[in-house]
Amino acid sequence: MHAYANPARFLKLARPLTPVFLTLGAALVLFGCYAGLVMTPPDYLQGDSVRIMYIHVPAAWLGMGGWSAIAIASITQLVWRHPLAGVAARAIAMPGALFTAICLVTGSIWGRPTWGTWWEWDGRMTSMLVLLFLYFGYIALSNAGDDRTSVSRATAIFGIVGAVNLPIINRSVVWWNSLHQGPSITLKGSTIAPELLWPLLPTVIGFSLLFGGIVLMRMRTNLAEAKREARLRRMAAA
């Protein structure tokens, strides 16, 4: 892992990977959305409104996956002092918050025609909203110090503590009576018919690749900024 502790070595890998992630991700998302809008049948109960699932599910996955990645990066930063862990965590926070917001907005739009409400304070919705606020807090905390490349240790600790919310989001529909339905896709299989399920594969992978591409771009930007500042400081000292 420490082989990529050297930013130069990381950049050598990240530079060619960024366009690959972004173009492949965009292509998969476009195909998945076309499939979800045109090629799949409507749901027997919900009709065409079920198609919002192909955005809603990847957004939920990335909102929660983003914080999982922040938590892992935070542990890596605190325990192994890996110099890129904080850089990665800082880069993940903004897209993570974005996808959490997309999940909440698409869920709200989906809730109106199916449940008959834009918003209710049930366990799943409330815990997902808490995740968005955790992202806001994390971003604010990461910008509180002078460091604009990595994050402070306090921020990393916050990243670990906030992960407590992840199992709560996941289990909220099982532990408590909720308006949101139970999990469709579990280790045991899927209660979504294969005809409706398959476009989720390209959209989930596609959005994940886009997410990865954005994170790599943000990491490279922050590393370049740090390099520029170091050079300016050297020139000023000379």
Partner: protein
């Protein structure tokens, strides 16, 4: 002990403490965090009459009645353990159907009936094309 291992143990201990605290908080919430009462959750002799509550469950098959005024609905909510008769005046959501989930917002009456001010439809986690649902409906597997 190397400093790295010390930090790892510290981080794991902190993680265990945080998860423990989270689980404690969640188990303390237990019923308080529920979005609605199921009919079986409501004590028959101690109905929550003083406040608005949500009642959730399945709409019992064959129980939906429309009153002559055209806007009043009567139906029965069941969770398999108990049943509550519900009256609602207004427009029900599209997904409000018999044998399907519903969450009614309103108040219990002293006689055990429930007057709903608002209805929400709750669907389950199954998604399928209409043709498949039609086939499955005949075999009765949709009813679980």
């Amino acid at each position: 002990m190397k400093a790295k291992n010390q930090r790892l143990i510290l981080a794991l201990l902190a993680l265990a403490a945080v998860i423990g605290a989270g689980l404690l908080a969640v188990s303390g919430l237990k019923q308080e965090a529920a979005f609605f009462y199921a009919p079986g959750d409501v004590p028959k002799d101690d109905l929550p009459l003083d406040r608005a509550v949500r009642l959730g469950g399945m709409v019992k098959a064959g129980s939906i009645r429309h009153d002559a005024d055209g806007v009043t609905l009567r139906f029965v909510v069941t969770d398999g353990k108990a049943e509550v008769p519900v009256t609602f005046k207004g427009i029900a959501p599209d997904l409000f159907k018999e044998n399907s989930g519903v969450v009614a917002e309103g108040r219990f009456q002293a006689d055990g009936r429930f007057i709903a001010a608002n209805l929400l439809a709750k669907h389950d986690e199954k998604y399928m094309p209409p043709e498949l649902a039609g086939k499955m409906h005949k075999t009765g597997s949709l009813k679980q």
